[in-house]
Symmetry: C2
Subunit: 605 residues, 2 copies
């Protein structure tokens, strides 16, 4: 545990070969951060522009001081809309941090410097969905349009379509108006609490780039405040689009404040975790009042989306009786216990409209939790899971009635042949609200490798239409992930999400693949590393066998050695072919209808 704020150090600095750029929108205060990767002059190619989740931490020009927090770029936009008010806010209570009355907190506290929370003025709804439905294109919407679209500039419009999108509606160009329309229809969300103005807006929806979430958070057993803040910074460095703080130990409130004030990405939580801490871990002692108070506490702090397990109804619990792994969602098991202890309907369900009333005053998005998701291959797609999904569909419509933004959480553990129907059912039952899945893991037998078992399912479910993939680290089922596990999990999910975008045929999504492959073929090793999702690891792996600087320009690597490098020989083949007029041969071949069996037949015939 750490003693003073000065020890709160986080990772900063540009990624190798990369520069932070800002693309300006229709007004000077809309400046969309992106990353450009410069290539070697010999490439004779422009820099490759990529989506950038890392915030100011990778910008050498930015002053990072986490005791002051990030610039509140969205605050002027929020205030300019004229529909919010500052207010005193809920008084902080010792139990918010798991303290007894009078007990002194054991971690540093972020100095809010008099900052007071905002909420909607009476009668106003301040959600992006409310604006979208009224035809208003917000600054946030314009920001995400530029962010989704211009990272690849004109390339996107010019790109040849190549993919199977299973009925998605992916545009050639993402316009602010398209963003507005998708949000109005409930097909996309911009998680953007008015009390978290530090976020660089991002969008989650099937017709946009596939996003990933990284979970962080301490548990009673391990981890400290400084580790958690660094984990957030670290996970967005590698590509996390949102971060969920799943802390369950003490100092939840204080830790979350540090995370929020320094997070340029949306932060999600599962409020029932903190509520349970407030009743000393006794699920049966939970009440709507404690939960409601916790929601307001977190709305005021700036949490951008809440996992709410309102779909787990009393009647569904018996459906889990014969499962191999029962209820594996933490929130789900807590609510099931409450329901049975009182033999009453889930209070998150009965109070769902009360929750909507709270969330719409801050624009906190719902992430409707799948408390009955399968925790094993045996339990996949069972009656309990799909019963809950039907209820989530019902709740989606209620939330939309309140102009609340909604996404739907999904499994879990599902064998490959049962993945697609999950997306189909979700789209149908939940009116195409964005789907947000955990994996799914496609087998149970590989603990220690569950980032991989789940990345297989994640890539597939992303392709089929899931909007955001919640990462799984190598430590899943075994323990709390550390820094390297977080990095491994984020990069693994980034590659799965990108594979999904390629397969969906997102225009120009192949640009980075092609740039990297050209670099590879031309032995521009530095470019190959720098274009990678994890340039540091690519370099490190290469250097394990060939550390000398000269190897960075060598026309081979240690995998095959100089004589057997297929790329090298292939270059020689091209040179020879050029002399022999291969291009013309190729043209001739094509002009003859591509008939390939004119040449000599094998001896057999």
């Amino acid at each position: 545990m750490l003693d003073n704020p000065e020890s709160l150090k986080v990772t900063t600095g540009a990624l190798p070969g990369s520069r932070k750029i800002h693309v300006e929108g229709s007004r000077p205060d809309i400046r969309v951060a992106m990353r450009e990767i410069d290539l070697e002059p010999s490439a004779e190619e422009p820099p490759v522009r990529v989506y950038d989740t890392s915030g100011p931490y990778t910008d050498p020009a930015a002053q990072v001081d986490i005791t002051r927090g990030l610039p509140q770029i969205r605050r002027p936009w929020i205030l300019a809309r004229g529909d919010v008010e500052e207010y005193e806010g809920r008084a902080h209570k010792p139990e918010d941090d798991g303290l007894k009355p009078g007990e002194v907190i054991g971690v540093p506290v972020f100095d809010r410097q008099g900052l007071r929370p905002l909420r909607a003025k009476a009668g106003q709804v301040v959600t992006q969905m409310a604006y979208a439905r009224r035809g208003i294109v917000t600054a946030e919407m314009e920001y995400v349009a530029i962010r989704e679209n211009l990272r690849i500039a004109e390339a996107r419009a010019a790109a040849e379509r190549d993919g199977e999108d299973f009925g998605a509606d992916i545009p050639d160009q993402v316009t602010p108006e398209f963003v507005r329309d998708e949000i109005a229809r409930g097909r996309a969300i911009i998680p953007a609490n008015i009390n978290h103005p530090e976020t660089e807006p991002m969008i989650i929806g099937r017709n946009f780039l596939t996003k990933i979430n990284a979970n962080i958070g301490n548990s009673a057993v391990a981890s400290s405040v400084s580790e958690e803040v660094e984990k957030m910074v670290w996970s967005i460095r590698w590509g996390g689009d949102t971060v969920m703080d799943l802390s369950t130990g003490r100092h939840i409130h204080a830790t979350r404040e540090w995370i929020l004030r320094n997070a340029p990405v949306p932060i999600g939580t599962v409020p029932i975790y903190q509520a349970l801490e407030k009743v000393d871990g006794k699920a049966e002692d939970l009440t709507w009042e404690v939960f409601r108070d916790t929601l307001i506490e977190q709305c005021e702090q700036g949490v951008d989306y809440f996992t709410i397990h309102a779909g787990l109804r009393l009647a569904y619990i018996p459906l889990t009786a014969k499962r191999v792994t029962g209820i594996v969602s933490r929130g789900g098991s807590i609510m099931a216990k409450w329901c049975l202890a009182h033999h009453k309907e889930n209070f998150l369900y009965t109070h769902f409209e009360d929750i909507c009333e709270i969330l719409k005053a801050y624009d906190v998005a719902f992430s409707l939790g799948d408390g009955l998701r399968p925790g094993s291959i045996a339990d996949a797609n069972d009656a309990a899971q799909f019963a809950e999904l039907e209820t989530l569909g019902e709740l989606t419509k209620i939330a939309w009635k309140h102009d609340c933004q909604v996404m739907i959480e999904g499994p879990g553990h599902v064998p490959m042949h049962k993945i697609k129907v999950n997306v189909e059912k979700q789209l149908k039952l939940c009116g195409e609200a964005p789907f947000y899945t955990l994996g799914p893991l496609v087998t149970d037998i590989a603990p220690g490798y569950d980032h991989i078992t789940s990345a297989i399912g994640a890539a597939m479910i992303g392709w089929f239409g899931t909007a955001m993939l919640c990462y799984v680290t190598p430590k899943e089922h075994l323990g709390l992930p550390d820094r390297q596990d977080v990095r491994e999990g984020v990069v693994t999910y980034k590659l799965a999400a990108h594979a999904a975008d390629l397969a969906k045929g997102v225009p120009a999504s192949r640009e980075r693949d092609d740039a990297l492959s050209r670099a590879r073929f031309q032995f521009r090793w530095r470019d190959q590393f720098n274009l990678s999702l994890d340039p540091d690891k690519a370099l490190e792996f290469h250097d394990q066998t060939l550390p000398a600087e000269g190897a960075k320009v060598a026309h081979f690597c240690s995998m095959c050695g100089p004589k057997f490098c297929a790329y090298k020989i292939s270059q020689e083949v091209r040179d020879m072919a050029a002399e022999q007029g291969m291009e013309q041969m190729s043209e001739k071949f094509r002009s003859e209808g591509g008939e390939i069996y004119k040449a000599e037949k094998p001896a057999a015939e």
Copy 2:
């Protein structure tokens, strides 16, 4: 480089919680090795029987002495068929090991103790396909039937079918007669050179368990004999079904001899690599005579399958002219260079029937190489790739005419939406001969994580009908894999292959998943680790945060801590439900037609 045979140590010892067992077939000399994992007494479950590729190295009862090699279990079977003869064999030449005449070899040489090679008697064909077509069920066929089938004993026959197999023909029980029929039809192969009698027979085909291959081999830059033998032992310990020796430096012959004499799994090679060494790395100096001599050398040593790039025809080379990554197969680029240098048709194509004549005298299986496989997403499924595949289909039929066993190599780099058509085309063009693919990688942008990008493609292509998956390690594109990379690659592919079996609905394939999930739910940590594909890593990851022995029986882990463990709460939910008669509630619920909306409606309605 190593100086004496004594330093050739390999990894031995049982996997945690596991015992080697042998299931006897119709005769005492058919003893099929399997592994049984014992569970804690509290489980009240029988041991879990799993497929075992690791050979005698994990059998504490076996005497391992790699200077003597493994027992030649198949030799009596081979001799009893009466169709082979011992002969003097080709004289060993210095260039077999890359030595100049008179140069002394720098590595230890395996002492064959007078062992002479076998070949078919004049007029005989000794392939498993030839026997199968004559209606003969060989000992090898019976062995693989027991191996595929009885690992799960009666469970397989009793199992409920659950999967989508895309037209495969997976039986409830694998009988020796089914094996024979599949081999006769060319839909499966048993790679089993008569000069490699140390193998425990295994089968590769779409209607059997999905197999994986691990590549090992030194290159001119790195690795030594002792490392390569240990890599073979190491890769089969984790689940490699076959091993390809892709060595390209010096001492190829000597290294291979050590590997073969100690390998209980089929060994594959790419003979053109050694042939190229014999002509000092000059592709244009290759000749049919040098290649033929190399084939005989390797047939006599006992290599079980050869990658032969006979489908890369002169006319196809121009089709690669506009590719982003040209020709990325080493063998393919070598042959392309030869073709262009001489402006002649590929001699592997023109001499294809001569090659068949050689291979059928030893029962070496063809692995028809995809010299024009795509090396980038941009090049996937292009004209060059599919032109070659058509030729591979043509060659398959010629090989079958000679009773040669054949499998077909496949890509490579393919985005998800273009994977399935690869299998469909291959099955159609190549008469359902087993498909053997490298990945495919579903994106190019993650060097350092290409075991994962490729495992996504591998799991999918395995599901669609690919019979064997060639692993990719984290070092792919960057350098030569080391021990840990091999382990990471093998386990990753093992999980992908198993995911494919689950999705195909291989009967009872879910037994191990279910056993592990039950152990997980019941906090039998040791059982969970021992049932894992990599028990050592699962234990190590768990112990990083909770190393105490008591944590192995604790009802939580560090991921969520004691208060928030969903499994623990879920158990409590079950206890409460039991008191409340949840089973009856569930029965009542079901008997009422599963109507789930009888309970209280949310406040909204």
